[in-house]
Symmetry: C3
Subunit: 140 residues, 3 copies
């Protein structure tokens, strides 16, 4: 049984951009000594979140952003912005709701994802960001 | 320390049907050699999600579906449906928001759930599905 | 590789109160023999949830509560309340959506959180509660 820590860094444009992490995560899976266990995928920071979706342009470039705009509109009033005189109150509440990470089973060297199920990061911040994601593999 | 992988398969009707996984998960817990650790419960596919609730008819048959209908209405416009000429754009965004899995501590052979806290799958797809759920036990 | 179980108990006022768990969790991290691995932080009960945020008064005392009031208004009609003649239908659906726990990587004795990223519990119930949170450390 062992612990294997890897990191991914990606550039994001923010504004609810949806980034497909699966190709990079697959590379980390191949490089990891862990074949059976779990991997926890966790984004550092409080204005982005991680989940899964079918990564196709309709969902990735439109529908997911529209969902979060309905839930937490960008131009609503947020006390967070009064505190810091900034503009990303909606980014924070969206990220808290989605959550900073997911844990995925790893069986026989493969993540147990569906064929049309990719792991994505949604960056809710209002400016380009460099994002660091931790991959913590646990298993054998 | 060991890894124990089990699977649950269930039939769902879709349309935000809420299925109580706890009885089947309890059987897996009893069958597992892991007594202390965690279990990651993960649904394969991108139109269903997993969480916990009090599994009683009001929440399971009405309130949870109503929540997701408010957040992501079935008959809104989704670009996903333009891409594939299908009808489940709302299913996808709801599933991404809820998330595909949860991780629950296992202490002395029991999941650390409340008395009125069951593990559920919500199937957001627009047709009946056979769902496969991975249970990844880690511990001793 | 080992499993280390710890518990936190806190008093909450409910009504979407946001509680900063990070100071107490940091004490648990320091007390744990696990230095590299993961910790699953899980609240027992079905009317509270756990996530991360920047814990500052604007978000913690206003914006997060406003988000959940938009998603699941307190004074909407919930069948759960018909079942039990109580008043916390909104508490349940909010908690299911947010989710009961998160799993955070632990690297070299530190949680991989951002500087402005604290672990919070949101208590959605309609009365003061004593909350018990399980911390399941796994690793070496």
């Amino acid at each position: 049984m062992q612990v294997d820590t890897q990191y991914i860094e990606i550039e994001s444009n923010g504004d609810a951009e949806v980034l497909n992490l699966s190709p990079e995560i697959e590379r980390c899976v191949c490089a990891s000594p862990v074949r059976d266990g779990i991997v926890t995928i966790f984004v550092i920071g409080s204005t982005a979140g991680i989940t899964t979706t079918e990564f196709e342009p309709g969902l990735a470039q439109h529908d997911l952003a529209a969902l979060f705009e309905r839930i937490a509109p960008q131009h609503d009033v947020y006390q967070h912005e009064e505190t810091w005189k900034d503009d990303n109150g909606h980014s924070h509440v969206r990220a808290s709701l989605l959550g900073p990470g997911i844990t995925v089973p790893l069986v026989d060297g493969h993540l147990t994802l569906g064929t049309w199920q990719q792991i994505i990061l949604i960056d809710f911040d209002t400016r380009p960001r460099n994002r660091k994601i931790v991959l913590q593999f646990m298993g054998q």
